[in-house]
Subunit: 324 residues, 2 copies
């Protein structure tokens, strides 16, 4: 891999609830010399924000990047102050599928997640892209902290929601959005360009057990760690797909954020998050009524919903991790 | 067409808000000697229940069946007593696209829609299939009138909802369900076998302007009437599909109810109707999370959601109407 000059590097702030696929996304991004991760902030979701921060620091250790990226802890509660259920069965009790996670070498910074996001965006206006792979609480708090944030960041990519696909945590809702619908509504209705990477796309980019085994057999410690945590993930996803494999949610969003993957089908449409107490709570209602005439762009819409990618992306992930 | 013996005929009660595609469904069914329509009940929706009754009587006149099928007027208000908006632009102000509708020869019966449904089901237990192509208010009222109705009818087929497809009247909701979500919830959660024919299926069975023109050029007065009312429908649907054509909502449900069309993809799953005041009000939330492993049947589920049919059905409709 050629190293990119500093000016060419894509600056990314990653907000995540470091469970298994967040970890894969981080390892994927950390392995790209063309990407500068200028901060990682954590949020409750797969696990607590504190555990997510510890897991993130451990991922940095595994990647040999200890101390090189600031990690800030964020919200443990939703925007409106509630504690929502964790999905411990999907990612394992500690979020990394029961893989060995030792006490990390690094420490979190003193700032909160929202503070780190706002400060970084102010220091580098127009340069930094936000990637969110967990509930959107930290981003919503950052928007309250600095309403001008929408004009300070280069763009926002969110793994979350389900447009025409079924939900996962409920029949209608995807887990990241369901965990904090009010925060998701705040983020997706804010006047900035967002790219939503929902289950419609991520459930079609499926890593197989064979691909995981190729990681497991590698000499790369990073690849073996990935195989180790994906082992648990595939245990869970066997109940979803009927065979040992897994979706690549967060790493697909990461690849779209940095331009590695260009959606083959996407629509820029109005998106409303259901914040009612009804059965659709947490649903991302994308106005795709224009699909029958192929009209993508709706006036006033700022959210691009990724509906499909070309497929084959998991192999790209595997190959990159094998080269680490 | 061969005539069927009375015993072989499929007995059908049709509940509808006779706009354009309801009328096409009625003409399609009336042209089948194997189908016995033992009653038609009307409901508000596309237009008022009273106008729907008048339109229904006119359709019977056009089909040369005046006085042969009892027509009963039903609800003008939702189950909870509200008046909802009409979709006058879709079906034209009087519901039949501005086609000439003279004073019909027949008259409505003295019973209400719900009374006719309940009485017929009691008189012929296990024999009659219910087909609903409008809001589900009359069926919900009938269930309140006679809770044993669920065991008295042979089955229920409903044109309505959107499973994985976008809605039509809102981004999340299909018009029939949206007009009375509380009634839809009552009907779809009642312990009877229902088949839901949502936009997922109906928006893929599209009649073309060429097909309509073949009806318009026919010597059959029924076919020409169909072409006449479909003219307005295609005006509306041009804004949806980007060309002159139209979906075949209600007639597809009719064909599925009598077994003319067998779905190529369907799933028997739990369906919840969103009755909240949120942005998903009127959405039919079908639990299709099992789709990735091809598992159709959910324990306890009684609603079969039609997701796809083979295509080409509009030509069947055209050929039948041309033969009338």
């Amino acid at each position: 891999m050629t190293s990119a000059s500093k000016a060419d590097r894509k600056a990314l702030l990653v907000d995540c609830d470091t469970g298994i696929d967040d970890a894969i996304a981080l390892l994927y991004l950390l392995a790209d010399p063309g990407v500068e991760i200028c901060g990682i902030t954590t949020v409750f979701g797969n696990i607590s924000a504190a555990t997510a921060a510890r897991n993130t620091l451990w991922v940095l250790d595994v990647a040999g990047r200890t101390g090189q990226v600031p990690v800030a802890e964020g919200s443990e509660l939703t925007l409106v102050g509630e504690q929502t259920h964790r999905t411990g069965d999907v990612h394992g009790g500690e979020g990394l599928g029961g893989a060995e996670v030792r006490e990390p070498s690094g420490r979190v910074v003193g700032e909160s997640a929202a503070e780190l996001i706002v400060r970084t965006a102010r220091e580098r206006p127009g340069e930094v892209h936000l990637l969110a792979t967990g509930p959107l609480t930290n981003l919503a708090v950052a928007l309250r902290l600095e309403p001008k944030l929408t004009g300070l960041v280069k763009g926002v990519t969110v793994m979350g929601g389900a447009a025409l696909a079924p939900g996962n945590i409920t029949p209608a809702a995807e887990a990241n959005v369901w965990h904090d619908p009010e925060a998701a509504q705040a983020v997706l209705s804010a006047p900035w360009e967002t790219t939503l990477v929902p289950l419609d796309a991520t459930m079609r980019e499926v890593m197989t057990e064979d691909q995981r085994l190729s990681l497991a057999g590698s000499r790369s410690a990073v690849a073996r760690f990935a195989a180790d945590i994906l082992d648990h993930y595939m245990d869970f996803y066997t109940s979803v797909f009927g065979c040992r494999c897994c979706a690549c949610h967060d790493v697909l969003a990461a690849a779209i954020a940095v331009g590695d993957v260009v959606p083959t089908r996407a629509a820029t449409v109005r998106v409303a998050v259901d914040t009612s107490p009804g059965p659709a709570r947490g649903a991302t209602i994308c106005d795709l009524r224009g699909q029958y005439k192929g009209k993508a762009k709706q006036r006033g819409a700022t959210c691009t919903v990724v509906l499909q990618t070309a497929g084959g992306f998991p192999e790209t992930v595997v190959q990159r991790l094998l080269r680490t």
